[in-house]
Symmetry: C2
Subunit: 437 residues, 2 copies
């Protein structure tokens, strides 16, 4: 470095270009999501069937304080921690795996009949981080591949793009993933020299498809994973939100050969602002320990550990409800049941047989899918929002360009029955205007 440099004028840096940034930033599947968010943001007054947020009518700011105090009391009274230990737990860097693992394990047992060791659980910054950690762990080189249902949750697609993991889609029907379809996709990938590692599956009310797998199909899927020698990544954000008619067991609770890595979230059952998710990964690793220990190592490079403060609030909430989230979110589940019925009844009234419009009838979850006799893309959405005052999500976003062009996703989680009725009136007017005669 010459002394003359000291006098050199400040050179304005040339702008960065996205061509020099990570490829995920220009991925078509993800940039279209940005466009979608812009469109929905431009019509704040429209009735929105697009929002994927949970119902917020029962949130209570004071409850945050109660939860935190309840967890603090648990540390002091149940676990015998000193005040100093309590402060350290809440304020300091904590164990990478988390501080509410024992409560989480009780919840999994109570609500999902899953038996897990607290040491096999890693608390994550939302379920999104759990997906990233898993895909990062399983992506050794460019051959590594995961399977996922088509349509696929965009958060999973995003995690895959971020970790440069190849995703192969498997068609999903109303009954969820079919074991034979999975086997075909795995064999096709292997024939191309790829190395299929896992299949991502949401057996209870997939987003966006709303599919729920039967117990027999779950058993077939587990057998297929065994025969194909791949893992199953079971994501379960919605199983609590069922129709009250009982529900099939989770894949993880049926798994006898260690195929299922289970990921979960408190975003829908508690609240998203905590950003608390988790992964149960009890698969042994030849060199010692479990897969979860490897995921924890990756987490120590990604976010170190999950906010102890946020964990404490969720921990308190768990304690208040006897470690059952099914109990904790019973009121929300009732809201979603009512809303789904209003939606399905409203659709039947407005779109009689022969109208060219059809839809699925999910038994729970937060989403329904409508098929229409025209292309439901951003241009259609723009018209629907601007001229008719109703927003929805184009389904093709969830297909990575392979389908769904005449389908739209309807989310009913944050709406009142009246808003759903108004929204359906507007939707019917929009569909009528668009439908070819």
């Amino acid at each position: 470095m010459t002394a003359g440099l000291l006098e050199a004028p400040g050179l304005a840096a040339a702008p960065l270009t996205t061509a020099d940034l990570h490829a995920s930033l220009t991925d078509p599947a993800l940039t279209s999501m940005t466009l979608l968010n812009e469109i929905t943001g431009n019509y704040p007054q429209a009735v929105s069937f697009a929002a994927g947020r949970p119902y917020e009518g029962h949130y209570d700011t004071e409850a945050l304080h109660h939860h935190l105090r309840r967890f603090t009391r648990h540390l002091e009274q149940d676990l015998g921690h000193s005040e100093e230990q309590v402060r350290r737990t809440l304020f300091q860097y904590g164990p990478t795996k988390g501080v509410i693992n024992d409560l989480l394990v009780r919840q999994l047992h109570t609500d999902e009949h899953i038996t897990a060791d607290p040491e096999a659980v890693l608390v994550t910054t939302g379920c999104q981080e759990a997906m990233v950690l898993l895909l990062r762990a399983l992506r050794r080189d460019a051959r590594d591949t995961v399977l996922a249902a088509a349509p696929t949750y965009v958060g999973f697609t995003g995690a895959a793009r971020l970790t440069e993991m190849t995703v192969r889609q498997v068609p999903e029907g109303p009954g969820g993933l079919d074991a034979a379809d999975l086997a075909r996709a795995v064999r096709a990938a292997r024939a191309e020299g790829l190395r299929p590692r896992a299949c991502y599956v949401v057996p209870d009310f997939s987003n966006p498809g709303g599919a729920r797998m039967s117990e027999a199909d779950r058993r077939r899927l587990l057998h297929a994973a065994d025969e194909l020698d791949i893992l199953l990544i079971e994501d379960n954000p919605y199983s609590m939100f069922h129709d009250g008619q009982g529900r099939p067991p989770t894949l993880k609770s049926m798994d006898r050969s260690g195929r299922v890595v289970y990921i979960g979230s408190f975003a829908k059952t508690a609240f998203p602002g905590a950003r608390i998710g988790y992964v149960v990964a009890d698969q042994p690793v030849a060199e010692g320990g479990l897969l979860v220990d490897q995921l924890a190592k990756l987490k120590s490079m990604l976010t170190l550990n999950t906010s102890a403060l946020a964990q404490a609030v969720i921990g308190g909430l768990l304690l208040e409800h006897g470690c059952s989230m099914e109990r904790a979110c019973a009121r929300e589940a009732a809201v979603y049941r009512t809303n789904l019925n209003v939606l399905l009844d409203g659709l039947a009234t407005r779109f009689p047989p022969g109208s060219g419009v059809t839809w699925n009838t999910p038994a729970g979850g937060l989403f329904a899918v409508l098929s229409v006799p025209f292309t439901a893309d951003e241009a259609a959405l723009e018209e629907s929002a601007g001229r008719f005052g109703v927003l929805w999500t184009p389904m093709y976003h969830f297909y990575a360009g392979t389908g769904g062009l005449t389908q739209l996703r309807l989310s009913y989680s944050v709406l009142t029955p009246d808003e759903i009725t108004t929204g359906l009136d507007r939707l019917a007017a929009f569909v009528a205007a668009r439908t070819p005669r």
Copy 2:
């Protein structure tokens, strides 16, 4: 899938092997950190100069409630939010960039003379996530490279391994990074066909080196970045913890050509359990927007957004101290100053000139470095802990195998003056036993 599969016995999956998992999981630099943590964990009764945690004597559980209420009041009274809006802010999915950006910007102006637009700030899950996002953004392909001081903070090394970013080290002296050394390293990397994108630098009390750059050296570094056409990633966790004699301006506040991406953390100034960090990235991108917008897109695939609850608590703390963390952590800064003096005085008493033991005299931060006349590796640490009851960190961990073999890092942040004195007595006994005669 044949029906026969239904009756097939459950095949226990073969264990995973680390050879099939991401390469970062078997990286020597990072596995040695695991070993280190194990050793320190085995000697809970030893005086630990190894802990990098902040002082915890002023943590107060009730303060968490005060901070949260203070932020809630801010939303209601200062920003005029309705109760419903407040609940939505605390409980729901929030804006990817964060909810306390306006307060953060005020803090940066008050404490660091940095002028930033709230829209150029991204709140992250600790500073660790900010590093991962930056490296992910800048890593387009295998040629992309970052420079970092040797010795380097292991969190940065971890973020680089996770994102598969090549790191080239630049030697760091007691005065920090030298612009000429940086230029040499950048040119050498280019000669190898690599594409140097940025240099990671901690100008105020680097971890572990304890170096602080003079204002003139900072100016030279900024000029070098301009001439070399690279970014500077300025990480500033420790500038508050100085010797009370004033301090040089941050690189970001001196930057006139948009070279500096600034990352910060509330882990040391507030508390680690919040997991709140941030990045200021106001570099324009040719296709529109700023670098921060690209980082926000990556964050939406990594953790969606940072816990609103944790942000609210930090926001309240900022408000209580007029958006000055220098004010908020004045008591901690005083503790560190006292401890550093006790440490330096104690070293001078125990290791007279000619003893073969030397050390640096940092003007602040949380760490000092001791040079000893023997190899300070895990075996030495094990003996130090087991026979003498004192823990420290081998410096070679921070060099990626290129140096520091006879150095150890002494951290004094969580100790009392008495513990430091006891620890130094033990350390002196250990050093005497190890020193060749």
